[in-house]
């Protein structure tokens, strides 16, 4: 079978900090030892019919391999985790719990983080920004507090490292620079533990190289 092909930003708006959603897929591939190819897209290319046929919402990443064409980082990471050992436990009940954490990262923890982040980009100059920010911060803190209580000093969310941890860490990393993570040293340590994994480091280096090439070009 030929290598899977994913799409990523040619020039990521995160400037190579590993916050774009291709990072999740790259990391998953590295954890399971599956080589892959990347097709880089400009913002203009992402709005073209050829890309919209792959991703109806005009985003990255997409995934294509052996007749399977997917979008949505959550679906792609889950697919990779189902195709290869290493990201989901063998026991069916533990496996279902790991999938639950993958969903929790994307649908319960990420939305208030993205909402805060988008407001800080798009509404920073608006008169209401200073008044709304404490509310946005508190929505994030609620989730961090609950997540910290769940972790309760454990290394990972549920037993061994899984696709659920992979997704949760990429979601939490989006708080980089907000000052909020610093309020929960256990969550900062959880992220650092994940970032120390060789698979994470390879994926991070690869996405950074793309940004550096774009900047030099």
């Amino acid at each position: 079978m030929s290598r899977p092909v994913i799409t990523a930003f040619r020039a990521s708006p995160d400037r190579g900090r590993g916050l774009a959603r291709d990072m999740r897929v790259r990391w998953a591939f590295e954890e399971v030892g599956q080589p892959y190819d990347v097709r880089l897209l400009s913002f203009e290319a992402m709005k073209q019919p050829s890309h919209l046929a792959r991703h109806p919402f005009g985003q990255i990443p997409t995934y294509e391999a052996g007749g399977v064409a997917l979008f949505e980082s959550g679906a792609i990471v889950l697919h990779i985790a189902e195709q290869h050992p290493g990201l989901l436990p063998e026991d069916p009940a533990a496996r279902a719990r790991a999938v639950t954490w993958l969903f929790a990262a994307l649908t319960t923890v990420e939305p208030p983080i993205v909402e805060r982040s988008m407001a800080s980009i798009l509404e920073r100059d608006r008169p209401w920004y200073a008044q709304r920010l404490p509310m946005l911060d508190e929505n994030v803190r609620t989730r961090l507090r609950q997540l910290s209580a769940h972790l309760a000093g454990a290394d990972w969310l549920d037993g061994a490292f899984s696709a659920g941890d992979l997704m949760m860490v990429t979601v939490l990393r989006r708080l980089d620079g907000s000052g909020l993570l610093e309020e929960w040293p256990d969550l900062a340590a959880y992220i650092a533990r994940a970032e120390a994994r060789p698979a994470y480091q390879r994926a991070f280096a690869d996405q950074l190289a793309v940004f550096q090439a774009a900047s030099a070009g």
Copy 2:
């Protein structure tokens, strides 16, 4: 095996309109013909340690069956769809695409809908609400426009009705009363097509009966 047990609001804030997240799980059970039991929770009970042990973020629904304990409506619907025929295609590529649509509903379409809805509840009396609303509406419209373009007159998102459609319809229904769905008659028809399914109607009636009992009590 004993029946699965899910949790739901004793008195849903949506007043029985089928917008709470247990509706997704009820509908999935009805589509596959799996009887289930419901444990109703007050808002106080949802914050107690016994519930937080089942759901670290203190929400509903949860799912328990045969030694498997899950939370997150997306994970629960996916689990039901994997355990029973009826909500995912047999063909592996089509199956992975249906799962992609389940993720797309939750992570790409739902966040701007929830953000708009929460602002209309929590910030309606704030001086900035009237200025922010057009932006929130436009974020929702972007997704509806893309979804409509993808549907392109088809009955369902990708071939036969799947867990992806089930989730997308429950997400779109949260726009009820916003006036936005009326701008896309094809999406309104898509929702109506789903609501006409006998499984949907049974699930809807069951959650409505819970709210009516709470109101009468």
